[in-house]
Point group: C2
Chain length 218, copies 2
């Protein structure tokens, strides 16, 4: 088809990882371009003039921004392989609801753990409450998509490589409090689409330490 | 089909109005139930246990929450009449991007105009910048959906009945600074689906005055 797919991304970004996992699930080849956020590329500024944020998926020269919108776009364009959203409208709405819940809750609670001084424990407790809510939604299913790895799995799994950072900065154990969720993480990591797309948790932690220093919160 | 559709809503809610406009576009009959937010109904708490917020669309007993997800659900279920999202994946992604932009920017800037003391003018300027960005996206098209009233139109038009409140509290004129956007509002108001679904701007203002009193910010 002569497709040209470029992903403007940042190694440690959970939002970028969503796009990487979705592209890997679909078997789409693409060019990965690492951005340096303090020195954003001209291409990034041109392709996402509104938010100026990664990730941006550039498909045949045209940009798609915002990670969940990118994942849904990927699912619609390469629809034959590994459908991510269910076909039933009600199930689709439910999947979108939980992906939206993740977006509204997890990044903010996560950031408050490493970005603040003195608020780490409070933010850690909040994150655990959010993860418990998600764990209860998972129930006894292997994936949020039921028997199949799906949209909500793509939305949440990238945060798992930040768990080590959250736990270290907030001094708590996610596995102790959400054992089923950690089993789900391990199950997802058995997929090459996930294990090859996610950042190394130790590198995420190093990235956060460097970021704290840059932002003056260490 | 023996459909049973119930909308848990609040008269002045721009989020609720999105669902009302979408249902009206599709010609879906439904039962409207006004919620009293300080005394939420048992049904609301049961149907949206996670966020406990309106609007909730209950379709044959099953709840759908979060306004844009509701609009997309309505578009997928009643797909024959007045399609709201385009069929092309790239155009769909663009429509989702702008609806998401509205969600991320407009309610917050709007609330800061009436909810704060001393910050009204600053928030007003910010809202104007956001509306100008949207106006430039509209360009010379009659609707955000191009020739057709679509998803982004549904997402944004409910805020227009709050413009009077924003202008009065923030002491500025949207029409002066965004004349094309106001022409778009008038064009949308020619549709019965919009004019019958939107709240009366004076009633919105009265609602906000009462809310300010209740919240102790008057």
């Amino acid at each position: 088809m002569g497709e040209r797919v470029v992903l403007l991304d940042l190694y440690a970004s959970m939002f970028g990882m969503r796009a990487r996992v979705a592209l890997a699930e679909k078997g789409v080849e693409y060019e990965y371009r690492e951005e340096d956020l303090p020195n954003k590329s001209q291409l990034l500024l041109e392709m996402n003039p509104v938010h100026k944020k990664i990730p941006v998926l550039i498909h045949n020269g045209k940009p798609v921004c915002e990670s969940l919108i990118i994942v849904e776009y990927i699912d619609e364009v390469w629809k034959e392989k590994s459908p991510l959203l269910p076909s039933d409208p009600y199930e689709r709405a439910q999947a979108r609801f939980w992906a939206d819940y993740i977006d509204k809750k997890v990044p903010d609670a996560g950031r408050r753990i490493w970005y603040t001084k003195g608020e780490e424990r409070e933010a850690g407790k909040e994150l655990i409450e959010i993860l418990k809510q998600l764990e209860s939604q998972l129930g006894d299913n292997p994936f949020f998509g039921g028997e199949r790895f799906g949209f909500v799995d793509v939305a949440l799994i990238p945060f798992s490589c930040w768990f080590h950072t959250y736990e270290t900065c907030g001094d708590f154990s996610i596995e102790e409090q959400c054992p089923k969720l950690i089993s789900w993480v391990k199950r997802c990591m058995e997929r090459e689409s996930v294990s090859k797309s996610l950042a190394d948790p130790n590198k995420v932690y190093d990235y956060v330490l460097a970021l704290k220093k840059r932002l003056g919160v260490d």
